[in-house]
């Protein structure tokens, strides 16, 4: 028997406005409602609605043999509830089939796991509560923002009762080992599911690349690749951004046809099954222990956090943001806490990345800022304003 674990991650941030130094002290309204709604509208139409429909059809047509796992950040759920409740319903329908497992994470898609343990835990609890409220289920499996994992994060997740974590099957962690088995975090019980990045990125990144020698990727070809691992692996983890379907890869690339056909094609092999992490945990035993002394992510070729915290601006913004933690928490004002948390979303830091800025590339994707520098300026100005609001409240309560 060989399992396919197909997992999609979906998220949208509360993007900030262009916020000038002259706005500080005058404008406590940081987030660009209009732009966020416009972006969301586009994604709902191009990706969420058509993809959810296909996923539901797949489950029905295969009588539940097709399975999928999903993570939906709190910041996205909030926006969908506000503007597009029909999309929330379509996610609920998927979860109700029992063939769709929800994976937990931080509510704000934040980098808190790299810095602030208490805040990290608080955001995971908030996400668990949100998923319980909206879907009636409490996830048992965790994924951190951008699959960022280190030994400490694994420890916190275990402590909070999670049974497994999704992680990147990075070469430098695995060495000669295969990502197509279940592993255990070092000195812990918590299990690790490792992304098979080659097979995942064949769809997520390369599907429409005409210069790729394997283009066009057909359901037959892809299923053949998957099924060729029989005998050498137990589980193939295909982890990708949900927006791969319809947004990163547009409809005219044939991505939806591909999504409709590859699962059934793969299931033609009598010993291939779809699964979800919780189901797999009950069947598969871990093969070895894996050590994550440094943070590993699924991003870029570096597979680290450098796209978020690689340059001085990102580091400064990050430390200034968390410097506010104590004061924001002691004054107990819900609006201030909310604003502070929405600013923790990793996207804000990603927009400040200068790594490949001159080339123009994926970092531009749905990026509301003209440059990483402008992203930094607006973010820092907002932080100054938030700081002033916090100070004002402190003085008043003294």
């Amino acid at each position: 028997m060989m399992f396919i674990c197909f997992y999609l991650h979906t998220h949208q941030p509360w993007r900030i406005k262009k916020y000038s130094i002259f706005d500080i002290g005058k404008n406590p309204d940081y987030f660009d409602e209009q732009k966020n709604r416009e972006y969301l509208q586009r994604i709902v139409k191009k990706s969420y609605l058509p993809t959810n429909k296909i996923l539901l059809d797949l489950i029905r047509k295969t009588n539940g043999r097709f399975k999928v796992s999903l993570s939906i950040t709190g910041t996205l759920l909030e926006q969908l509830e506000k503007y597009f409740p029909e999309v929330v319903e379509s996610f609920q329908k998927l979860v109700q089939t029992d063939c769709c497992e929800l994976i937990s994470e931080t509510y704000y898609h934040s980098l808190a796991g790299l810095h602030a343990t208490d805040e990290f835990k608080a955001q995971i609890r908030q996400q668990q509560k949100k998923l319980k409220d909206v879907f009636g289920v409490l996830p048992r499996v965790f994924r951190n923002t951008e699959l960022m994992l280190n030994n400490q994060v694994a420890g916190i997740a275990e402590q909070m009762g999670f049974k497994a974590i999704l992680a990147e099957g990075a070469d430098h962690i695995l060495g000669w080992k295969s990502p197509n088995f279940i592993y255990r975090a070092k000195n812990k019980k918590i299990r690790l599911f490792l992304r098979n990045y080659r097979l995942s990125d064949d769809v997520a990144f390369r599907f429409s690349t005409r210069t790729w020698t394997q283009w066009p990727l057909t359901a037959e070809k892809y299923s053949q690749w998957l099924n060729s691992h029989h005998g050498t692996g137990e589980i193939i983890n295909l982890f990708m951004d949900y927006e791969t379907f319809g947004e990163h890869q547009w409809e005219d690339t044939g991505i939806f046809e591909f999504l409709k056909t590859w699962p059934a094609e793969t299931l033609k092999h009598p010993d291939t099954c779809f699964t979800t992490p919780s189901r797999a945990l009950a069947i598969l035993e871990p093969k070895a222990e894996l050590d994550f002394p440094q943070t590993v992510s699924w991003a870029d070729t570096e597979r680290d956090a450098s796209a978020w915290l690689g340059n001085k601006m990102q580091q400064q913004a990050f430390s200034d943001l968390y410097d506010l933690e104590n004061s924001v928490k002691t004054i107990r004002r819900k609006n201030l806490l909310n604003d502070w948390r929405k600013l923790q979303t990793a996207d804000h830091f990603y927009y400040m990345c200068t790594k490949w800025f001159s080339d123009g590339d994926v970092h531009k994707y749905f990026n509301p800022h003209e440059s990483p520098y402008e992203a930094f300026i607006s973010f820092m100005n907002i932080l100054r304003d938030l700081e002033m609001r916090v100070e004002n409240k402190q003085q008043r309560s003294n």
Partner: protein, 395 residues
């Protein structure tokens, strides 16, 4: 390949960026094996070891140095020796240069002609007529840029349009300039090629100690002619807004020009005269020292075909804020960009650079690296492609 190149000025006897650009390009071309004969109208003590220099209006072409009968009264009115070139008006000089070009084109052998900006256009066209060799005209600025898009001088405009129409190829220093040539001069885009300028690595200068006035203050720098084109008035408007937020800033304007008086008056009127320093036109060590002392460099140009000054600033490790209405903004990413009229945003960007050290450092480090990659070597290569293109179509 041998090129007969018509310029107007070369450093150190230059009034602005044109001479610097001609020098850098000619040098890089010669390093790539292109033989260059560089023609200047007047004799100056310039050094160009890599090219043969011809001064068009020298003793050899004595007849041209004299005033025609028609010009004599004006020359006498100057009260000067009629053989003194300084008595010529600019337009006289352009005309004399054109006459001299005929003589030069007969004497020299070359494969093509390359003329820089309107002052040398008539000379280039004359050389083409005589030699029947192809003409490339290089547009570093148009009359519209020089007058900040308002009321071009008809004489200049006519020369530009006429020569561009007759040239075999036009090199524009940016897409910004190409669009002007197409939209405002009505030239077909098919014969225009864009070749962005480069920059020579800064020579180590013993920088002069500048400005005791700086003290603890942060310093914002403007370098360029004080003319409508360069947007000095927008710089001052932004300065006023900055000083309302942060009084510990001084503004230095290095350059001279016809708006100087107006700009000084505006600084007084805005009540910021104490904070604005007019350094005049700076060269060498003085300019290097000024760059080094600066915390931010701003180029608020209304219409800047290319704009080499921000690249110089980056070489000195100064972060730059540049007008979107500029050619250099097409090739520079590690900087802040602003519409020249949006002084609120300009002030916001300047304040942010002064307030957030991480921004300053990141802009500075990445900008310096980026500027290092913008070389005349690249420009020369693209220029040679243009040469090859016309030489092969002529055969």
């Amino acid at each position: 390949m041998k090129v007969l190149m018509f310029g107007w000025e070369l450093p150190p006897f230059n009034s602005g960026g044109l001479g610097v650009a001609c020098y850098g390009l000619a040098k890089a071309l010669s390093q790539k094996g292109v033989e260059i004969v560089f023609v200047l109208p007047q004799k100056t003590d310039v050094r160009m070891p890599f090219a043969k220099i011809i001064f068009a209006l020298s003793e050899e072409n004595e007849s041209l140095l004299r005033f025609s009968a028609y010009e004599q009264p004006r020359a006498r009115a100057c009260g000067k020796n009629p053989e003194n070139l300084h008595c010529f008006t600019l337009f006289n000089l352009v005309e004399k240069y054109k006459q001299a070009a005929k003589i030069i084109a007969r004497k020299e052998t070359f494969d093509l002609i390359h003329a820089h900006d309107w002052l040398a256009f008539p000379a280039g066209l004359e050389a083409k007529k005589i030699s029947k060799k192809p003409l490339v005209v290089h547009v570093h600025a148009t009359e519209l840029d020089r007058v900040g898009n308002q009321g071009p001088n008809q004489y200049v405009w006519d020369i530009e349009k006429n020569v561009m129409e007759k040239a075999d190829r036009i090199i524009a220093v940016s897409n910004f300039t190409k669009n002007k040539i197409v939209n405002d001069y009505g030239i077909g885009p098919e014969k225009i090629r864009v070749v962005h300028n480069g920059i020579e690595p800064a020579e180590p200068q013993s920088a002069s100690e500048l400005l005791g006035a700086k003290g603890k203050n942060k310093m914002v720098l403007f370098v360029g002619r004080i003319t409508l084109q360069k947007g000095p008035d927008y710089f001052l408007t932004a300065a006023k807004k900055i000083l309302e937020k942060n009084p510990e800033v001084i503004f230095v304007m290095a350059g001279s020009g016809d708006m100087e008086k107006q700009v000084i008056e505006k600084a007084v009127e805005l009540g910021i005269a104490k904070k604005v320093f007019f350094a005049g036109f700076l060269r060498g060590g003085d300019l290097a020292g000024t760059f080094r002392a600066a915390d931010v460099f701003v180029m608020p140009s209304v219409s800047e075909p290319f704009g080499i000054a921000p690249l110089e600033a980056l070489q000195y490790g100064v972060p730059v804020i540049i007008s979107r209405q500029s050619g250099v903004s097409e090739i520079l990413s590690h900087c802040l960009k602003v519409d020249f009229w949006d002084t609120d945003q300009m002030a916001n960007q300047i304040l942010a650079c002064l307030k957030y050290p991480a921004l300053h450092q990141t802009l500075r480090a990445n900008g310096e690296t980026e500027a290092r990659g913008i070389t005349w070597n690249n420009s020369a290569e693209e220029c040679i492609n243009v040469y090859n293109e016309i030489l092969s179509t002529k055969i």
